[in-house]
Amino acid sequence: MTWLRKAKEGLKAQQRRRELPDGLWSKCEECGEILYHKELERNLWTCGKCQFHFRISARTYIKILLDEGSFQERFSEVVSTDPLRFRDARRYVDRIKKARESTGLTEAVLCGDGTIEGHPLVAAIMDFDFLGGSLASAAGERIARSILQAIESRHPLVILSSSGGARMFEGILSLMQMAKTNALLARLSDAGVPYISILTHPTTGGVTASYASVGDVILAEPKALIGFAGPRVIKQTIRQELPEGFQRSEFLLQKGMLDRIVHRSEMRKTLAWLLRFFAAAERLPHPPRRRAGESLARFRAASGPIPSPVGHAPTAAPSPVPERGTSPAAAPEPESSPPSPAGAKPSTE
């Protein structure tokens, strides 16, 4: 009767509560081991017995991964509104309000810059506790601005994902954030600025179907649930049980979808090593970069603030990408300048 037990586990995974009890002891959600709270904290909220990684907040990741005090938050002024005036049992605006209160965040992604062992980076950390880490207009815009910041500063981009996918309450606009972020990541790649994607438990749906899956390097925490469709949906579709370990990090590594699985306690060191590697690569002689920063001003304008709702005077639109010491490094390059004809001209007689 193992299938009964497994079906229950599947349900449990959906309902996992992320907050740890305030008491001295916590129970591992995976193996049931009773863990001493102080010990758990020392292990960066991973189970010492089964290595299960508890879900942690974006701010905790910042604390664990970045050099102390180096993190400078950016783009927190970009926040959700309710373009569809969506309402089911509750109003979308009330859901946002509640998420803000419970997480202390203003959106499902925390963006900024900082250093790891002295290496600068641009970081975007998703937080599952904010409406399931869902991607919508404001989160998409913050990530887009972070990508622009990475292109301009030529500092590597790290996005840590933890998300149920695109946010239903903003409908098609949420879906379009997948196009927005990936279209800009194409430019990041053109500019030769590295992008490291970190997948944590759980990352599914529209986020895996966009930026999370296209890193130059893709890392994952152990045992994280990662996939396009969630296990429940797949089970409904194929009407059979899923194999053990299906859609977990280890499974994805074996199928060739990940570069490495990295324990939380090793993540900072791994990132530092990769940043050092890419910094060394940056110092190599390069042919002129393909149009890194040239037309960015134009995109900054495009992705800038839109007229606010009535009664919400827009703040004096700040330059979305903060000025940094380093100017956009890449020189505009004549190769790609206009009027080159668009490819082989077919006869249009």
Partner: protein, 321 residues
């Protein structure tokens, strides 16, 4: 009169039945019957216009999924009789849920790619109801890259309930396949025109629909999630799909209002011709700019501000230049 009728079309159907009955009687010898026939036909016409003029979103969902709606290959047959289909992703297999190939339309070489649904059960099993696996999206990307190599414009036709959520699809990296297409389509240095011809189902639709121009047929839908899926999650009841369809704002006119699509009408060749001469980099810049403008959000006065977002309706983003 054959074919599938939707519930809201029933009044039209009733009249059509009467017309059919009358047809046999209406001969030049019986002018009354002829008159009645003309009257009924006018009435059917008027009724059709009335019903279609005020369709609800849920009714449009049904139309978008109508089993007798033209599918990708039907459009291709009409606009590109010379279409030559190409097969396979060169990695794993060929996916019949997506068709891709070369065509010449009015002397313009085109690569046409689209989701393909099946007309009957047998065909639907073969086409997997238009729900593609990773190999389908990778085939599409392979052929789009070929198009870019030779400067050939790309036309994509969107009609899918969504990318297939199954074991094999996950094993072969469905997310990566979608993500890669979205990223690469932003990159391809040829004009890309996408037309949502039926169902635009979430990521599975977007992975063929990152274009310079996105058109949408009037009774098509394009959504982040199916109304049924949304209802199951939010209302905990899949039968609340009608409500979900209203809330999701997924019709062509909704999307036009939200500046996600560019036009309602089918004007593919006009766009191909106007874009083909655009310098490549300008083309890519404009495509990126278009997507950067999408989304509606606020900018708060201070980073720390933590008040509730205002509920008043925002102005949507300015229309693309």
């Amino acid at each position: 009169m054959n074919g599938t009728w939707l519930d809201f079309e029933k009044p039209i159907l009733d009249i059509e039945r009467k017309i059919e009955d009358l047809r046999g009687l209406a001969t030049p010898e019986s002018p009354e019957a002829m008159e009645e026939l003309v009257r009924l036909e006018r009435k059917a016409d008027r009724l059709r216009k009335e019903i279609y003029a005020k369709l609800t979103r849920w009714q449009r969902v049904k139309l978008a999924r109508h089993p007798r709606r033209p599918y990708t290959l039907d459009y291709i047959k009409v606009i590109a009789p010379e279409f030559v289909e190409m097969h396979g992703d060169r990695k794993f297999g060929d996916d019949p849920a997506i068709v891709a190939g070369f065509a010449v339309v009015e002397d313009m070489p085109l690569v046409i790619i689209g989701h393909q649904k099946g007309r009957d059960t047998k065909e639907n099993i073969y086409r997997n109801f238009g729900m593609a696996h990773p190999e389908g999206y990778r085939k599409a990307l392979r052929i789009m890259r070929t198009a870019a190599t030779f400067g050939v414009p790309i036309v994509t036709l969107i009609d899918t309930p969504g990318a297939y959520p199954g074991l094999g699809a996950e094993e072969r990296g469905q997310s990566e396949a979608l993500a890669r297409n979205i990223l690469e389509m932003a990159h391809l240095k040829v004009p890309i025109i996408s037309v949502v011809i039926g169902e635009g189902g979430s990521g599975g639709a977007l992975a063929l629909a990152v274009g310079d121009v996105v058109l949408m047929m009037e009774n098509a839908i394009y959504s982040v999630i199916t109304p049924e899926g949304c209802a199951a999650i939010l209302w905990k009841d899949a039968t609340k799909a009608e409500q979900a369809a209203e809330a999701l704002r997924l019709t062509a006119s909704d999307l036009l209002e939200l500046h996600v699509i560019d036009e309602l009408q089918d004007a593919v060749m006009r766009h191909v011709r106007s874009l083909i001469g655009t310098p490549k980099q300008e083309l890519l810049d404009r495509r990126l700019e278009k997507y950067l403008k999408m989304g509606v959000y606020l900018e708060e006065a201070t980073a720390a501000a933590n008040g509730a977002p205002d509920a008043s309706p925002p102005d949507p983003a300015p229309p693309p230049a």
